[in-house]
Symmetry: C2
Subunit: 404 residues, 2 copies
């Protein structure tokens, strides 16, 4: 396992972990842009732009893009979040150069007016589809309520109205400022030759123009508001809770992950034993979400309407016991085993390793081996978790519900 | 990478692939039993039994089972199909012995009357939930129409009525005959010590009683019937097509997989370009399903009601062109790249390797290296695909539709 790193003159960082025992290789562009970087007026543009990258370049039309991926046999995908847009692929080692060249080509899209107009309908259908999924809808609305005027409350998909009003010109402007080489990281993992891949990347990306690009960071305390919306068509109550947590840059991020597992892992957690196993709720989970300069604990609970009062009372009890008596050594040990095995198993595949490699550079500007992460997780103490609970009071949350 | 194999006196086969460079280890019981092994009267019992294995043994109650998995940090799961019930877990190497011991314990469940009665409601909720998913419902109904009186047409979940009538006594009888050591394979993959794991398995499973157990095998020609059911609540038409194919034991199974990819991969296939890219259908896929002594090509198409005639005409054209002109070299090459990269990437993880290791023994009673499979895929020729098309005529299918 060998770590490599290079920064081009235009600011593009290439980060690689060579593992010649791997049987595949993975490559990805991590663009540091998402809904939090959008003004209200163009909200939804990052996600729409992610789609447009597959519509072609000056050299390739959409059909040829598809054909080009097909030739490499790649497993490829892309996703947009509040703060990143990521494009990645895993292939057999002999196709890595070809698929890397293809991504480089796609990262300078044509953004043609006619493609923009057609894709608008696809985006609006996606918005409508997610609106119909109450588990997704309640989280998005809770996020907006929690973050209030903080940009992390922006919707990733945007509203139908916003998408209707968005122009191709606005998208091209956003693209130029955000898809700058100094605002992205290109990561490569698995079986590959560093020098060969670097020369392809330098040849393809070396001339991209540096831009002045920034993201204002501020902590979010969270509104702690409570809100409920009625939707008569629903059979179940959907509840989302959010409270502030440490950021992706904070050393205590593993402590926060472990607390999330202890309180709200899908099996064996406090939520599981008190809510799911007792048949009060069908689902009850809590997760730590690390973000740039801020963070959240996010819980999702689904239950019948008649169980709502008992569910909320139980949640209050869980958090007040947590604040009063803390956690046990045994709980922390079990949570560490879960987090460690998930981490190791995910990172065993070049595709999984790529994600950590890219995000570690995006958030920490450094390379972390799996062993670094394992040591950091093992070092977390019961007292560390108690300090975190004391400072962030996860029982003091923003709450959004949708139900019949 | 080292292959190991042992057969206990009672018939239990242990198959292992030791890879000391792996960072995790996986273990699984592959029980050769599923809905095709059920009489009409007890249809659904295999899947119900899979649930009951987590309800405890003479030594452990359900709470303790959960706690025991939790301690190991395992990523674990189980699934039931028409012909297998599989229980598996991936862990850090230091927990493999513990989680193997736990699975061995669970494979001799208490099957208590009170747990059986409570779990019945969970099973019935699962049946109701899947009935509400038209993509699942249409496939199950098409399978039943296609296989007609052949046992492969049995539903995995069973009907609500069947589950209501099922007794704990019937389940215990089915368990004794099917969960016999000579009807299962225990597979282990990743970083582990073969001798140590074998001694745990021999100690735990050595006394299990051999049973007389069999599965009658017969080819299924498929009914080729067409049927449509109206469901006014649906917004879309769901169409499932099935036609016969080679079995899991047949050397031509890779040829069949490649044909499935060429015709119906989710991207870049003939279905994709003619149906999805032209916006006639939202989804259109075809896959090869290998089974014990038989096999199917199964297609699923979702589209608007008004597009149905055009979609069906296009499908007819696709299959008649396939029969007339066959496939191109370029199509075969692209399909091979996709199948090879999916195979290699999946098998890079001990958890993925475990599945192939187990099923290769269940179906072929032999060990296949990844390299064996890669060579077999690379060796498939355009003529092989043409012979398969000629013999199995995939355009001559059973058809089930559900729509508004």
């Amino acid at each position: 396992m060998k770590f490599e790193k290079k920064k081009l003159a235009n600011g593009l960082v290439i980060t690689g972990e060579v593992n010649n025992r791997a049987k595949s290789a993975a490559v990805g562009f991590f663009v540091k842009t998402g809904s939090r970087d959008e003004s209200k007026q163009i909200n939804g543009v990052s996600h729409f732009l992610e789609h447009m990258l597959f519509k072609g370049t000056e050299k390739l039309n959409a059909f040829e893009v598809n054909e080009a991926f097909d030739r490499t046999g790649a497993q490829f995908n892309a996703f947009t979040s509040e703060e990143n847009t990521v494009f990645y692929a895993a292939v057999l080692p002999e196709y890595l150069a070809e698929v890397t060249g293809l991504w480089i080509e796609l990262m300078r899209p044509a953004l043609r007016d006619e493609d923009f107009d057609i894709e608008k309908d696809v985006i609006k259908e996606e918005i409508a589809m997610y609106k119909d999924m109450p588990s997704f809808d309640v989280m998005e609305r809770c996020r907006s309520l929690h973050f209030d005027s903080h940009p992390c409350g922006n919707s990733v998909l945007g509203s139908e109205e916003n998408i209707n009003n968005l122009t191709a010109e606005q998208m091209r402007g956003y693209f130029t400022s955000r898809y700058a080489p100094n605002n992205m990281v290109l990561a490569v993992a698995g079986a590959f030759e560093w020098e060969q891949i670097c020369s392809i990347i330098e040849g393809g990306c070396g001339k991209w123009q540096t831009q002045s690009v920034a993201r204002p960071l501020e902590e979010a305390a969270g509104s702690k508001k409570k809100k409920r919306v009625e939707k008569p068509s629903l059979a179940r109550e959907h509840i989302c809770l959010m409270s502030p947590a440490v950021s992706a840059q904070d050393k205590r991020r593993f402590t926060a992950s472990l607390l999330g597992v202890i309180v709200g892992d899908s099996v064996g957690s406090r939520f599981f034993w008190e809510l799911v196993d007792k048949a009060l709720a069908e689902t009850a989970t809590m997760q730590f979400g690390a973000m740039d300069g801020t963070g959240v604990f996010c819980s999702y609970i689904r239950c019948s309407g008649e169980n709502v009062p008992k569910v909320l009372e139980t949640i209050r009890d869980i958090f007040s016991n947590l604040a009063k008596d803390g956690i046990t050594n045994d709980e922390l040990k079990k949570a560490k085993n879960k987090v460690l095995s998930a981490l190791v198993i995910k990172n065993e595949l070049p595709m999984g390793r790529l994600i950590d490699l890219g995000f570690n550079w995006i958030y920490l500007e450094r390379y972390c081996t799996i062993e670094d992460d394992i040591s950091a997780i093992k070092a977390v103490s019961v007292n560390d978790v108690h300090s975190l609970i004391k400072q962030f009071r996860p029982g003091d949350f923003t709450q959004f519900s949708i139900g019949p």
